[in-house]
Homo-oligomer: 421 residues x 4
């Protein structure tokens, strides 16, 4: 179930439908295309992830969504211009069947959008109830065994966690009192938790990342994850920064700019929405490079992130990064990365993986924050006493060793000294 039926959601749905028919491959999905090494290198056991752990199959999925515009998934996919018409045409009938339920939408949190297909409710508490009814109704109509929800809606304006977010009771009171710190995405998250539907958040909004939500997830026995899908530029950043750090190369400055022309770009042209995104994007370097631990290498980094709305690009955004690094004796060097990427193409496989892995976690009785899914997020949620882990390679190791642990296989350390004496 997808709050937000836009470019990402329809690219995800169309792709699953195409993959089922054998018309295209779900590239970028670790669960479908990736392998996991089990045992020693010389054992040569490298099954696909989907064969190693008991994931739901693509054939078992059904799709539901909410949106603040009434267009069905076919109309949205055509308008988004992410997929070529040969791809959309091949699954047009199925896409046309997917019609969004009316959105739970308070416009003050996304100022650039003016939804027309929205629910009315006397209070935010009642709004939660309406969403819960939607969930139950959808599951019943589809005859589904269980559900998972992934937030695919727009970035909301920046909200700092407040008193209302500190406990279940406070949050429930806030819902009843229409507290302005409770945004639309929090309402979806709360409704899902109440219905024991695992929930992941693909945007940088607070949404499901505050003490009351953590607590409710644990009480209801529901796994949660977030936040902000790690796609283009930040993905590159969490690949490159660990590489620099591994080699003890210093960093003096990192400038990142992004040009994009889709609805996401339009929303982020609002400084309030951009702030939420900026906080999500800026934290990455600090956590990977740990300036206090490495004052000589990373103690004085100038990090700047820009997102520029630039319509000629549509969904095919472009990132440009400049890194001012320094090596032996402080000599400066520069790295420039130009990434001609596609927003929804990079996000869609993450939606799929998160749906399947959260469902797996739920069946394995894992509940609350799933730190091992940090791999997929720009701002990973963690236990309160821990720092978030942003290094893509540590995240990957954590994810795979968690899978190994779930199926009782030996954890991998890459020591490998047994091959030498």
């Amino acid at each position: 179930m997808l709050p937000g039926l836009g470019a990402v959601a329809t690219t995800f749905i169309a792709g699953v439908l195409l993959a089922r028919k054998g018309l295209a491959k779900p590239i970028g999905s670790l669960t479908q295309m990736g392998t996991i090494r089990l045992g020693k290198r010389t054992e040569d056991r490298f099954p696909l992830v989907r064969d190693a752990v008991p994931l739901a199959s693509l054939d078992d999925l059904v799709f539901g969504a909410w949106d603040i515009f009434p267009d069905n998934a076919l109309e949205v996919a055509r308008h988004a211009e992410v997929l070529e018409s040969r791809h959309v045409d091949a699954v047009a009938a199925e896409l046309a069947q997917i019609k969004p339920m009316a959105g739970a939408f308070y416009p003050e949190y996304v100022r650039r959008l003016h939804g027309t297909h929205v629910k009315a409710a006397r209070s935010k508490a009642e709004m939660v109830e309406q969403v819960r009814e939607d969930i139950r109704g959808f599951i019943e109509r589809q005859g589904a065994e269980r559900a998972v929800a992934i937030w695919c809606g727009s970035t909301e304006v920046y909200i700092a966690p407040g008193d209302v977010h500190q406990s279940i009771a406070a949050f429930e009171a806030g819902l009843a009192a229409d507290d302005p710190s409770i945004s639309s995405s929090q309402i979806y998250a709360w409704a899902c938790l109440k219905e024991r539907v695992p929930f992941a958040n693909g945007a940088p909004n607070l949404c499901v990342d505050f003490p009351a939500a953590w607590q409710l997830a644990r009480e209801m026995g529901v796994p949660i994850a977030g936040k902000d899908f790690k796609t283009g530029q930040t993905l590159m950043k969490t690949i490159l920064a660990p590489g620099l750090k591994a080699r003890s190369l210093g960093l003096q400055g990192w400038f990142s700019t992004n040009i994009l022309g889709n609805r996401d770009g339009e929303v982020l042209d609002d400084p309030n929405s951009f702030k939420t995104k900026e906080v999500s994007k800026l934290g990455v370097l600090e956590q990977i490079l740990q300036p206090p631990r490495y004052p000589d290498l990373y103690g004085n980094i100038y990090h700047k992130v820009r997102i520029e709305y630039y319509p000629p690009r549509g969904d095919a955004k472009e990132g440009w990064d400049n890194l001012d690094i320094f090596g032996w004796l402080g000599y400066p060097m520069q790295i420039k990365v130009n990434f001609l990427c596609r927003d929804s193409i990079l996000a869609a496989p993450i939606v799929l993986d998160l749906a399947l892995l959260l469902d797996l976690a739920s069946r394995a009785s894992m509940r609350g924050t799933q730190e091992w899914l940090s791999f997929y997020f720009k701002s990973p949620m963690t236990a309160p006493e821990l720092y978030p882990e942003h290094d893509l390679f540590i995240q990957s190791m954590k994810l795979k060793n968690t899978l190994r642990w779930m199926i009782g296989e030996e954890l991998i350390t890459h020591l490998g000294n047994e091959y030498y004496d």
Copy 2:
């Protein structure tokens, strides 16, 4: 002890001298600047590597070298124009004292250089003996306790391992018979092994990577490592490729070109030397991406590597990479990386780390191929039954878990599920 007193060697020596005086930092050196996590995340134990394991100190180092030109280290450093004059000036007196011993040099292996400061010997066997005498003499003159050698000479023409390389006996016979498959760098390596001097090879030459050398190293109890320092473009490649693979993104083509204007560029302008380098550079992607295991993602990669001699750049070379990748449903994207780097600045800290870590390994009675030092090489040496590991992040994990294992600390798996019941 450094066979090859050129830009890399003098940048390394000058840097150690400057660091000792507190005039510059040995940036890029994992042993000096890096930390190692010990225990659980919440224990907050992150000592510097040099404090966690008993490495020799920078203050204890003395430097010796061989070269085929008679210039002392000061003259070489000035000519190389890697370091600014304020840096060279500050250690000029010490550099001027470092005069290379005459080189063991057979010109057919490096055709663009015409050495004038070379040894004469009646056979390659005798040449080995002369180098052994140099080693013993140097150690005695310096009053050194022990020695380590790092090959910092030029890339030799391509030589495939032959019969002469298969056993100690065959190699010794080949030395006596002046076998043309035995190049200058192999002579240095053999002499060092005979003198129980740990040896690392910074170039892609065969040098110390063939069965006879592996066997001799084990018999003499000497650790060895190689080959080809992982610096600019290949370093980036082993950072980026694991990132793509971690996310199951496909790769259609990778084009790499390099412009550089130093002596290395001049030597590699000879197609025979370039071939040695090309083999070293091309293998990287195949080993990381494993096409046979991922036919849909990496089954059809067009990988091309070029090195172009371009004098305007001197030592400050520039790499340009273009990656044609594809994501969800096969949609193409592009990544371009422009690396304005400095060859010797990236190589110097590797020389230092290898010297200190090989010395440590030797004292810890580790002998033969040190796979855990793969981190530093474009073409890592491994046990014959294993594939080389090129992924920088696995290499880093392997190195650090080896250090943890040496000092009896718990290996790290990044599982961390103890924080979430």
Copy 3:
């Protein structure tokens, strides 16, 4: 009439057909899209070029071709994958009608291609006669009033002009004697001149650029032009270099590399064909920057050009340039240009403009080398006593002032001091 029915020729033909139907615009064509200022700035007279001078109309064109493979223009266009299927489909019937006449082809001049649809002739002289018959037959079949030929075939191996190229008599003797310095493209050119068909050469081959051809063109009253269409990287070079020179900025080095995967890339992978191209590409800078006149600025340029066959790109080639420049007091700066271009898309409008402008020149009784068309070529042909002009802006001025001169308008000097007392 097009010797060579490949990607460029079919992109040109399809585009003209589409433009006629109003389905696409002939972007990149100066004659169709460009304007020309007439009179003073304040007169506001800026007609389209095609309205200012009496050009043939797109509606009047018919297309003929030769090729060494028998595929018709539809098959070629589909295989070339330059145009999207919606474009090819819209003119499929017309394209299918265009079937190439058998090629005059001696394989030793293009070693990577193995033609199957070729003429047999007892001598090169007879080959010329066969091509002449083709021309007459085509004109008669089509009921055309007049013809123009543009070489759109592959780059031939490098041939320096020899004795056989010095006079009409020598060349005719060489044809009879099958002189090896007379390549296939020269045969087409000679046949066209004999038939009074204006001829332009889109490749760097000698073709129509040697004394005997210049003389024959003048004797027969035929305009000729060449050589080597100025498209991607060289186009950029002739834009940037005049800009640097205008500002008296110095140049130390210029490195250019190109990755491309079409048939052109395949042919240029042969070092002999590449040499022809390299000569054409290297001369540009020297002529624009004039090192002897500017020894301090351009006396020591390191200029290197590479073309790399890289199949992932197909026709959508990519150029990467690095310029090492210097300014005030010699301080270095760098400019890097990354051009994601499309070979045939850039060449097609040049074919159109040359056809129309050569036809115009012919009707205006202009004969021999047309220097004013230098604008379109990497290696412009000039009178023997002159140097070629490579600066795109001087070329453009020359072209436009020539058009003004042809129609009796005042030449433009951009003085404009009349506006300020």
Copy 4:
């Protein structure tokens, strides 16, 4: 005389001093390094500009300045870190002698700077008088024959021309009444005009570009020019855009960003100052590409310009441009330009050329706006009835034909048909 003794001014002064001593070349200066063709190509007359027209010699220059900080030119040059110490050292004594006169400074026009070395005046009219006295005093002290002033100060906040700028009388009244539309730079310009000192404006401020100033310049017989030195990114834009237009290639979008870390970057971090700069930078494309005249090619351009303060770069700023262009039938292509430039190094030779050429113009009795100097400016000043000309190549032609006209040489049209009957 230089209002603003910062990085640009001191780089200019130091460079002239170095060039006089033969220690460095005034690269980037058209007057010193450039040549001018006189007569026909075959006459081979290409004198240096400084030999063709009677310019003042570098040896004749003396330097004066105003600034709002009291540091002398040596202190400023050391702090700016534009020039290497070997260059500054060589002219240190002369630089130390150049001490700025106190600045005429109203802080509301440059909000990020807090000057300490400023004049006090009861009104802006009195401030003009103080500056006039400075000028007369300087000329007398130096024994100079004549003076020229070039604005090298910071960019002021955006001011639209108002009533006060429409006539000499209105402006003089405004000075007396401390009109807030009269900024510091206008005060300098007015004082210079009153003293018959030719004045050029290197920043985008109004300064000397409004009707009252035009009129006063004509009445006093003083040449003026402006505005905003055309250096890094805009220089590239006015090179590339005419190239695209010459070839009738379409443009869909142009995104430009700049990272820089000098005082200029700091000032432009204030949105009000940035607005002045943005207006100056944005107009360029529209004037070159003329959307109304080319609706199919340039009717729908998305043009965005960003300047980002990024301290790691200091004066060595970096521009990154992305152009979305389209060719034949509308097919898209991309050009990316990465310019590693140096702000003051590019500006210094412009200061020199403008000083010498304005002085020449003054002696040639040219007065008022000098459109032929457009070559040097981002926002060229023109007669009110004309549009500004931004095309670097037309600007260069205009400049050189003006010089030819001044010395009675034939204007060049590049027709050259005389070589081909």
